[in-house]
Assembly symmetry: C2
DNA sequence: GTCGCAAATGTAAACCTTTACATTGCTGTG
DNA sequence: CACAGCAATGTAAAGGTTTACATTTGCGAC
């Protein structure tokens, strides 16, 4: 049996109210009384029961973080950024992964309801109706990269469109014309935005983005690896592969190497997200930089804004810019292969 | 105001006991009553208050996972393995990082007390007295790679000694004699064990492990990077660097490249842990394989063992074997440099 | 010495569930 | 028809806090 506040009270010869007061920033308790109570608390190693406290206070000091997946450094960085921000406020993190499954999302959300003071939800793949339906009411919620038609919740969205467009333009500037992309799958907001950016860049420069050069992945290394196997089955290889995240780019590089292709001399590869390890792989990975851990921290801090200044009812919609991060996995291609390319596209 | 069980009861025209019974696997409730209650519950989107439930049931359906850090793929894999295992049981994870700071550990532990049904704690750096003192009593606890003199808790420990010894022997077999190590810092169990293994392998083969070849890191990439800067300041460079985890090995490789050294032709590098990305960096990283995500899952499953079969009072102490994972970052060195080396050591 | 007032402390209700025990209502048997 | 017995449901206590309100204490002023 854990000791309760009554045990402390009786042992200290005071009432439970006094103990409670000592515990909570203490209203006005005589210094001597406080000392005595504190001594007993330490002696008994008493700690208030969070369930009882939560029951009456309606406050848990925990924030829920629901991510689509836990594979790879992207999510690990999100968690790290969020944990740091949360710890700064003496709060804690309840982490869950949904595998993009509406049922799991619902289960996690139900679990969190009443256990957390707010929720940060990242779910690029589930459509907004399902989401909105399951979102607990009366709880601050920050949507991270969610498909969000309505403006009822705070949102943080990465500029996938702009980032992908910029990257595509960079590749075009290097002379690439046959640029294959590896997407993150259907109905995935992040993937769709990046695809939109890629296509827009192509179209803006009067190239027709070929559907045959768009390959479907799912943001995992293995899917990048497998996409390359398909890409290499093409009669005319692309000169560049733009994977819609770094994990797939890393998988792609492995597959390309296995086929004896050198990067970037034989083929250029680039990714998206700029996960920390991208600097260390060889060749170092050209990518679209996203401030990943900041994203986690931003979401948490937004949550705290809500939690403290409750007056502020206006939802905030943050659009996070990206920036090209040029390293050594992409190369300017020769005029000859360039021409060969134009020919293919035409 | 969230609706409570009373609202449901009155709306359904039954007592709260009946609602509760319907909610919890239902004892014996007439089918018709159950239906009606269920209908109301759905209509009102009622969900029981976890705090109230936790208060009376003393059960939270959450497991605490306290890690020393959240940087890098090692911990991300631990979390992933743990989350998968936990989700299989309908439980959830409360994750926290301690930064190896006793105060933060204490705070996290205090926070978890009453909020979780069990705790998985990884803390290779904090000594056992402090730990033992702060560990909540009456809660199943699994210690992961903790310095653990006593046998009162379940423990899971990686065979750092054996793994490091094996790796060192491998390097010796390749002809290396001047082998520098980058450790994980003082008082870190993992680091100490690996250092012990390294030294033992050297001594067993009648080489004296030189203290001047032991460099102190802290398991982060940057510390591996910085250690190499020191290593290269040595008059006689080592022919191999054994970093005590992969992150430091990755940092070391970056530093070596910056100094114009080729790996493995100029110098061999190896790590420990075999994090997933090791396969993808170049050269692919020779490492000591640790089943990282399994470790997380094992810990959680051990916790559930405890939670279900309470009878079983014997603590389990699992020793996780490692296995050498040879890739391409280490190379056999020539007889000449080999001889040159022996000379240096002598 | 008494009174008043403020400071310090105590009492009890409220938070929302689960569940042991009490009660109701019904079925079937003698 | 009465009643035993059981199934279904209801009542109320318990769990550990916080806090509004009530009470006590102590002190200064008259």
């Amino acid at each position: 049996m854990r000791s309760s506040i009554v045990d402390v009270a009786s042992k200290a010869g005071v009432s439970i109210a006094t103990v409670s007061r000592v515990l909570n920033g203490s209203d006005k308790v005589k210094a001597k009384t406080r000392e005595k109570v504190l001594a007993v608390i330490n002696e008994m190693k008493y700690a208030p029961n969070p369930a009882a406290r939560g029951l009456i206070m309606k406050k848990t000091e925990a924030i829920g973080l629901l991510l689509p997946d836990l594979h790879g450094e992207f999510f690990s960085e999100i968690i790290r950024g969020a944990d740091e921000a949360v710890q700064q406020q003496g709060y804690h993190l309840i982490v869950s992964s949904s595998h993009n499954d509406p049922n799991e999302i619902e289960a996690a959300l139900r679990f969190m309801r009443g256990r957390v003071d707010a929720i940060v939800l990242m779910s690029p793949q589930v459509n907004s109706e399902i989401l909105l339906e399951n979102l607990p009411k009366g709880l601050p919620i920050v949507l991270l990269n969610c498909r969000t038609d309505n403006t009822h919740y705070d949102t943080i969205v990465i500029d996938g469109y702009g980032g992908a467009k910029e990257m595509t333009n960079y590749l075009l500037d290097l002379g690439h014309r046959r640029i294959a992309v590896i997407t993150g799958g259907e109905n995935n907001l992040e993937s769709e935005e990046r695809l939109r950016g890629y296509r827009a860049a192509m179209t803006d420069r009067n190239f027709t983005p070929a559907r045959t050069l768009e390959f479907t992945g799912n943001f995992t290394e293995i899917s990048g690896y497998e996409a390359v196997k398909q890409i290499l089955a093409l009669k005319h290889h692309p000169t560049a592969i733009f994977a819609f995240n770094d994990s797939m780019a890393i998988g792609a590089i492995k597959a390309l190497r296995e086929e004896g292709l050198r990067i970037p001399s034989d083929i250029s590869v680039c990714g998206f997200d700029d996960i920390p390890v991208g600097k260390y792989i060889s060749p170092s990975l050209t990518s679209v930089h996203v401030p990943i851990s900041d994203l986690g921290a931003m979401a948490i801090n937004r949550v705290f804004d809500r939690l403290t200044k409750r007056t502020r009812d206006t939802t905030a919609h943050v659009f996070v810019p990206t920036k090209l991060c040029l390293r050594s996995s992409c190369k300017k291609i020769t005029l000859m292969s360039n021409l060969e390319k134009e020919e293919n596209v035409a």
